[in-house]
């Protein structure tokens, strides 16, 4: 009896998880104060039991399907579908109207929706930029960077510190403080790239997993510096009052500022997409992909690995620098607590969910990860929990991500002899 043994397996799994989660999910003690009481939440146990019972069926079915290669088959057909779809979209008479419609929607968006919606969209677009930047390092280069938030922080602090030290000079000269934004933006890109090289130099010889830990350590050191150098960075409370961008003398009330920032980031995101797209098929982009596939084979083909790694890190960091400046201008305050390890992991989640190496994937990933918790409020409490599960499940069942990269295939035609 096959279904009987399946049933038994699921029942055992349910019991196991009920046992496993009992002390953490059912019992709760409060050791604060004198009354040491234990609260029992039996409801959770029932939920875990029932949930584990049914999920274990799904889990086994999915694993079996994966191992039989069926999901690979369906993924292949899906890939074909995406290829057909992109082929259809790339036709001139389809592409132009579509782009025009998208453009109209993007331009009208801040005028037809509320300030709140626009703000969320800015956040999502910041993550699109961060995702595209990290995608260069992880997706193309295959270098797992767990310290990406550090570059984001470098960007934000570039603008914040510039404001702190240069503001009086700007006022003296009779210029508006917001002009600094336009100086900080390119500067932050350069500074972040410099930090990217600074991080890349010591880790050139490291393999994947060591690299992940060192980048993580780097990010922690950077965060510690921002917290402890309180004479310069004002410590954990951060630098407040950062000016909004100057825009031809437009008065920057929150309403106008949000719209201006929205259009600035739209333009930068479009530029990012174009540049990343161009990079992908350039000499250096191909070198990155070769490096990801096999470092030694890549070296023997005459590619300079050192150069490829340094450029991957610095080119990836540039976008984080830009994103940091925009983030600082949007929130008008910068503090080290916004740049924790989990920030880096969320950006990684964007890339992994969307599809490593795929530009469209990263955009989809960022929109899902940022917009979902905003619009499904009930879900936002469990945000980080779900991101964790997403990372695990994506790796097991869909390592290519939601929108998989279509790789160019060249077929050699055999000659008839």
């Amino acid at each position: 009896m096959n279904w009987l043994s399946e049933l038994k397996k699921s029942a055992l799994t349910a019991l196991w998880f009920m046992f496993l989660t009992f002390p953490i999910m059912v019992m709760k003690v409060s050791t604060i104060g004198s009354d040491n009481t234990t609260v029992y939440r039996w409801k959770n146990m029932v939920i875990v039991g029932i949930g584990a019972f049914f999920l274990s069926f799904v889990w086994r079915w999915m694993l079996e399907r994966r191992d039989r290669g069926q999901s690979a088959k369906s993924a292949e057909s899906q890939l074909k579908l995406t290829a057909q779809l992109s082929g259809f979209i790339n036709q001139k008479h389809v592409k132009r109207p579509l782009l025009a419609a998208l453009l109209v929607f993007v331009i009208l968006f801040p005028f037809i929706t509320s300030l709140y919606q626009t703000n969320i969209m800015i956040t999502a677009l910041i993550y699109v930029m961060l995702g595209l930047g990290l995608n260069i390092v992880v997706g193309y280069g295959g270098l797992l960077n767990l310290g990406y938030a550090a570059f984001y922080m470098v960007g934000a602090y570039t603008y914040a510190l510039m404001f702190k030290y240069m503001n009086s000079f700007f006022i003296e000269m009779g210029w508006q403080s917001g002009v600094m934004f336009w100086i900080a933006l390119p500067l932050a890109g350069v500074v972040a790239a410099a930090f990217g090289i600074l991080l890349a130099l010591p880790v050139l010889r490291l393999r994947g997993d060591y690299l992940a830990i060192v980048t993580l350590a780097f990010a922690e050191i950077m965060k510690m510096l921002a917290t402890n150098l309180d004479k310069i960075t004002l410590g954990p409370s951060g630098i407040p009052g950062i000016p909004r961008p100057w825009f031809f003398g437009l008065r920057m009330n929150p309403m106008n500022a949000t719209k201006v920032i929205y259009f600035i980031i739209i333009i930068i995101v479009v530029l990012t997409i174009i540049i990343v797209k161009r990079l992908e098929n350039s000499r250096i982009g191909r070198a990155w992909e070769a490096m990801r596939e096999d470092e030694i084979a890549c070296q023997s083909m005459g590619i300079d690995i050192t150069k490829a790694k340094l450029t991957a890190f610095s080119m990836g960091a540039v976008w984080a620098g830009f994103a940091g400046v925009i983030m600082a201008a949007k929130t008008t305050v910068v503090n080290p607590n916004s740049f924790t390890v989990w920030e880096s992991v969320i950006i990684l989640c964007v890339v992994v969910l969307g599809g490593m190496g795929s530009i469209a994937g990263v955009i989809v990933g960022a929109l899902i990860i940022i917009l979902m918790p905003e619009y499904l409020r009930a879900f936002s409490e469990y945000r980080m929990l779900i991101f964790g599960i997403v990372l695990v499940l994506m790796m097991i069942f869909r390592p290519g991500g939601l929108v998989r990269k279509i790789r160019k295939v060249h077929k050699l035609e055999e000659e008839d002899a």
Partner: protein
């Protein structure tokens, strides 16, 4: 001199705790070549289980000695169970996948476990009542070493000896060594790889839980985030000593503990955590195989 001795002993205590956690990292890495990112969380869960069961049992009116034994035992059992479950869910399906996939899965698991504890318990720091005995003969020397520190040192020493015996002389230990050298060959000579891997996770998680209970008793508090930093530092210790090598992990842990302790004591306590990371970067630049590790040659 007394200050030096005090720093030395507190460094040794720290090192012992790192060693208990680093063992799990290094054993798992030796066998499946995976950084078990969720290991720090297993250690945190061990601490939480001891806290919850300990508080409940002491309400029931049991004597502190009994509470200590029971809650520590439960922490060890539960941590081992969590360790196996994490392995079955997040790592086993990825055994044939690229290493980057397994690593990302491990990060996801770590994040999941942290927020699982945060959501089902609390985000605040909870005071952790210590049930460890205090020795009368140390009463006059508590400014140098207290009873908890002494117990930590003793427990670590015993665990190290037991583990060395296990790996050197038992059949399981032999199977583990064989698996870490060559998985396929080990399979060919009839070793059940799955049970070896499960056993590795059980042992690693159990020692981590022991470390969790001891450090929480020493620090007197716990929260959901303690596993993360401790886990990273223990990993640094494992890399320092040469990952995959058990004596290396112990040596690395002590070196790290002393560096932190002296660094914080003589240089600046603001950057206590930074010393670990700086050491990590230095060791990876100058001696990537670690202090006691063997150099690995790469094959194409």
């Amino acid at each position: 001199m007394e200050y030096f001795l005090q720093l030395f002993l507190s460094g040794t205590t720290k090192g012992s705790i790192y060693a208990l956690i680093a063992l799990g990292y290094t054993m798992v890495y030796g066998i499946v070549q995976l950084i078990n990112f969720a290991h720090g969380e297993i250690y945190m869960i061990g601490g939480f289980i001891a806290l919850i069961l300990g508080a409940t049992l002491s309400q029931a009116g049991l004597s502190p000695g009994l509470v200590l034994v029971l809650s520590t035992g439960a922490a060890i059992v539960y941590s081992a169970a969590y360790g196996i479950t994490v392995e079955k869910i997040a790592y086993k399906p990825l055994r044939k996948a690229p290493r980057l996939s397994a690593l990302i899965s491990a990060i996801g698991m770590s994040m999941f476990l942290q927020y699982y504890v945060l959501l089902s318990q609390t985000e605040k720091f909870l005071p952790f009542p210590s049930y460890l005995p205090s020795f009368a003969f140390l009463k006059d020397h508590t400014h140098i070493i207290n009873s908890t520190q002494l117990i930590i040192l003793m427990v670590t020493t015993v665990v190290m000896i037991l583990l060395t015996l296990l790996i050197k002389f038992t059949k399981m230990g032999k199977a583990m060594r064989a698996t870490s050298q060559d998985k396929e060959m080990a399979m060919l000579v009839g070793i059940n790889i799955n049970s070896v891997i499960s056993m590795t996770f059980v042992i690693g998680s159990a020692t981590a839980a022991l470390g969790g209970v001891l450090i929480c008793s020493f620090m007197g508090q716990i929260n959901y985030y303690i596993g993360f930093i401790a886990g990273i530092k223990a990993f640094v210790a494992a890399v320092l000593g040469g990952i995959g090598s058990i004596p290396g992990a112990v040596l690395g842990s002590f070196v790290l503990g002393w560096t932190e302790s002296f660094g914080a004591g003589y240089i600046s306590s603001d950057y206590e955590d930074a010393f670990a990371f700086i050491i990590l970067i230095l060791i990876l630049i100058f001696r990537p195989a670690g202090l006691l590790g063997r150099k690995e040659s790469k094959k194409v």
